[in-house]
Subunit: 641 residues, 2 copies
């Protein structure tokens, strides 16, 4: 066995032991050392760069490591075998995807505004924002030698009298504590119940007369980021909010790689564990700790996620999603409870799962569509969700069509050498001086935070600015020279936003021609999807009346720049609305309101799914979009190119 | 720490470690060494006798150990503290209650006759012996690019078409495996379902077209013995049968001691674990192993047990059962599932719990009453269940009254120095020669099995024979002398059935005056209960038309001897019927038939419960019964006393 010491830019080192020839990335995984591997460890993404400090590694050379860098100790963990006692340094950027969990400061109005807006919007569409959970107070006669009715029967009678319902369902978890709670409360108890027309289900009982908060949990499981809120089920108030990287990241950046990993022996369980035990449960614990809430008093949960994510969450074989004819295990299911999959809330909690409508258009989109209110307006609107994939919904109160395009993870910083999520250290907005070619930027985090990478909105700005400054060609190649522009031995150009001494990382923050090319293909996928879908429906871009942009690209998104690089259609900027995480807002709405839940199922049933790959013109359209802004500049008249 | 070595009459020793002063019985418990302690370890029963082989123990002297025995190393484990490295020998008799699990040989017709009789009897009363479980075969079109309906929706449609029911419930456990099973079976599957008027619930699916056996499990949880059968839910066939000592025995012989133990910290969990993880689950594993059955294909379970046992099984606080006003947590519950309490069968299996009707008349009696068919006959019949307590039901097709009497565990060998369950090594029948006073007996087990103790039916015979031979007085004191009759230093007499050299144990098998006294009080409790109940109803013993005797006393019970000692009323012997374990037969019937289940709930609702302690004459009646056969010999005219 060899000793492997992982050092970090901050914090204590982690020690692991490995047998000869063991893969360094695997050693890191089993030791819970966070090293991103969006490509699942096949040396294609170059994200798992670590620096050898001492000892020897048997590492393959790859295009991601220059000779100079190799000399300086840089290696890809995924192609390194342990053959010696080694010490390796893991730079922050190597785990930028898996950034620390963040519990939101709710004193900032921004954090809760989206939910209030969603609630008000949906209410204005005639949906009652209420659910069937409630509190019932009961007082019973204490038993005597002349009145020996058992606890269960006594309690049932009292509940029937209080609710007028004659079917009272008392699960084992309540029956088990019934004798103790009745006696502790001297036969006065407070009950958490769910009432339907037919019956009343008792979730919990407490001694005495109390007004407990009934907790609810809404979760948006993105391929890259998981966000959640803890709410008061009766008032709708947001009690806490948190986000964290999806723990599955180390099994691949996109859904296809995750599915492939899940097919390996034990893989389904590993991926389920990564999102539940390593991501959602710690988020619940953090939110409950911060707000002083008992997690067992969360009695209902809702989940909005793409089809692959909800399959992996439930440990269901997702392979048929990626194999022709691309079949999900379910669109809708009512069968899931917290105890089924080990979510650490009340075990009898029902989990509402936002319905899928296709293998690549899932519950995140149906939930987001609910919030977009597309279905309630006569105007034709376009809803764009920029997650790890891009999904579109177009329509109005009479019809809706949706499609998905494999934009890849670039909008969330994947497939980009210095890409990262919109979290501390990310450049979220940027300007480049046309003369000096010097950048100025905003970095997410406390004032003075140094940049360690670029998030989606930052990438849009940088590419737009480079293009507007004439520094790159419509094909994304560098066409000017300067101190921040470099070319490597293969001739590949790059632009340095922050040299190592300016950066918060151990290496330069830069954008390469490969990055630009990846991003151009991502934005091309979005725009070509919009064009193809509209053409298919015999609509023209000019007929789009509103555009709702949602997703993890970051609230700093500059719509003008997004139009200028040909990502969004060239229509008046006031028509664009960034609506934030509409998936989470939709999950919140479905959790809070039975009406909203039913409406979402109805939307899903009525939404048409367009499989872009079956539209012959899509590929041509895509190729035409892989330019800045587009091969057909007449589509972007306002840009004066 | 001291080393404690437990030696056994056969098998490898067990090593444990104990801190200075630790109680030896506790050390045995935590090491899973079986030592009975029916009195819960308060030095009153004398069952936990072990022999010190080497080292020193700090042991209190008690009346249970003579000076000679003390000299020979005999100690009570419950009053011994570890103060040295010791080796102690644990004789077989010290764990006779916890005898090995026994899987029945079903080629013996006797083992299954009781269930066939129960089934036929109940059917003859008009109950349909069928349940709502069934098998459904489905064949679906495989999905194509033109037919992309998800698995869940495809399966639901096919099930609706096959069953004509439009509510199909697919639990998570089925949804999780749906994609794999559908594809493995090429969209032909076999489903295990439960059908009601309203809906169809899918328990399980298998690939292809198959005729699987739907397993069911019926369990009788006695205070002393647990019995179970594995059945085919469609045919009613018995697949396997097993019995074992209730693992809770080491926490006390009777329900009161068990409840007291359950009130200690962690006690509820310990008692639940003892009956589930240490008793029922191993029985399931053994039955499944023997019959080659997959335990996950058991989809329903039924339990018949006394009120305390079903509370402890479910981990529910049983203390209110023993404290005035004696309130159970429930009479009836429909809320229990296998996964709730960790029964190792299919986790979604519903557990039918035979209803209780009072704190001391439980589901074992309501299930037994179903089988006795009392409720279907115009004749007045008496049903007697001789378990660790005695319970009676008297009535006919118009009314039924039940009561319980604390007979104590003597009928199952408890409170008797050489008492044991009706299992291998137990003397089950006995004759004593009036002249020579030499005994002859039948021992349960293979031919040649040597006696190690006495079970209930053996005790009845021995006491009856001793009395008929004029060896004991009506008060149970020895009044003849002989080589098998001894008196200890306090003058207490005893009769040796087998000297050590004749016995299969390390000590003599004998019956003492204390044993006889205990047994007389037990039989007195039964007879006085019969008298009191009948008097209360203004009935006379002569009006009893049939007597059904059930319970673990053993099939060898000699009714004439039971009458001769004044245990049963002096009515013609042909009126007595031993019906075996009616609790298990009732559990079997409720498992096999929804009608039988509903009938049992109906019986329970309609049965009157008589609390004997509230009847003023009961105590006088009891005292009068504590003679052989009774102080009023006119009650036993046929005995010619």
């Amino acid at each position: 066995m060899f000793k492997v010491t992982f050092q970090f830019e901050s914090g204590e080192p982690t020690i692991a032991y490995a047998v000869e020839g063991e893969n360094l990335l695997e050693v890191a995984r089993k030791t819970n050392v966070a090293i991103d591997a969006p490509c699942s460890g096949n040396a294609s993404c170059g994200k798992c760069r670590v620096r050898l400090v001492s000892g020897e590694l048997d590492s393959k050379k790859t295009r991601h490591i220059t000779d100079e860098e190799y000399e300086a100790g840089w290696r890809l963990a995924c192609v390194s075998k342990v053959i010696d006692d080694v010490t390796v340094e893991v730079p922050d950027i190597a785990s930028a995807y898996r950034s620390r969990m963040k519990v939101a400061d709710l004193s900032s109005r921004d954090e809760i505004a989206i939910f209030q807006q969603a609630k008000q919007g949906i209410e204005s569409a005639g949906i009652v924002m209420q659910n069937n959970m409630g509190i019932v107070h009961l007082t019973m006669d204490a038993p005597t030698l002349d009145d020996t009715m058992p606890d269960n029967e006594r309690f049932t009678w009292a509940m029937e009298a209080a609710t007028g319902l004659d079917k009272v369902r008392i699960p084992y978890s309540v029956l088990r504590k019934l004798p103790d709670v009745l006696r502790e409360g001297e036969f006065t108890v407070t009950c958490i119940v769910r009432k339907t027309k037919r019956d009343v289900f008792v979730y919990d009982i407490f001694p005495g007369e109390d007004e407990p908060v009934i907790g609810g949990l809404a979760v948006d499981i993105g391929t890259t980021t998981v966000s959640a809120i803890l709410i008061n089920m009766l008032s709708g108030e947001i009690i806490a909010k948190a986000s964290a990287g999806n723990g599955q990241i180390r099994y691949g950046a996109d859904v296809i790689n995750r599915i492939i990993e899940s097919q390996k022996p034990g893989g389904k369980r590993l991926l389920q564990k990564a999102v539940i035990e390593e991501t959602i449960n710690p988020m619940i614990a953090h939110m409950c700790h911060t707000s002083g809430f008992d997690s067992h008093r969360i009695y209902r949960m809702s989940v909005a996620s793409n089809t692959t994510m909800n399959h992996l969450l439930m440990g269901i074989n997702a392979d048929p999603l990626r194999m022709e004819p691309y079949i999900p295990a379910f669109f809708k299911t009512n069968s899931l409870y917290a105890s089924d999959i080990g979510i650490q809330i009340h075990p009898d909690s029902h989990i509402i799962v936002a319905p899928n409508i296709g293998s690549y258009v899932g519950g995140d989109i149906t939930a987001g569509t609910l919030v977009s209110l597309l279905w309630n307006k006569p105007e034709f609107s376009l809803f764009i969700d920029l997650g790890t994939n891009g999904e579109l919904v177009f329509g109005n109160n009479e019809f809706m069509v949706s499609c998905a395009c494999s934009a890849g993870p670039a909008f969330e910083g994947g497939d980009i050498s210095c890409g990262m999520r919109a979290t501390d250290g990310a450049i979220e907005a940027c300007k480049i001086d046309k003369e000096t070619m010097e950048p100025s930027y905003n970095v997410i985090g406390d004032p003075g935070t140094k940049p360690i990478g670029l998030c989606g909105s930052g990438l849009i700005d940088v590419i737009s600015e480079l293009f507007k400054a004439g520094m790159i060609s419509p094909k994304g190649k560098f066409i000017r020279e300067g101190r921040r522009i470099r070319h490597d031995e293969y001739g590949m150009g790059s632009y340095v936003l922050a040299f190592q001494e300016e950066a918060g990382s151990v290496k330069d923050v830069e954008i390469t021609e490969v990055d630009i090319d990846n991003f151009i293909r991502a934005k091309g996928a979005i725009f070509s999807a919009i064009r193809t879908m509209l053409k298919y429906l015999d609509f023209d871009i000019s007929m789009i009346e509103e555009v709702y942009v949602a997703g993890g690209i970051g609230s700093g998104i500059n719509m003008a720049n997004a139009v200028s690089i040909g990502m969004f259609p060239d229509i008046p900027l006031e028509k664009f609305h960034y609506i934030g995480n509409s998936s989470l807002a939709g999950a919140y709405s479905m959790l809070l309101s039975g009406d909203a839940e039913r409406k979402t199922y109805e939307l899903a049933r009525n939404m048409t799914y367009l499989e872009l790959s079956t539209v012959p013109s899509y590929m041509d359209e895509f190729v035409a979009c892989c330019f800045l802004p587009h091969t057909d500049s007449s589509l972007f008249p306002s840009l004066e190119l």
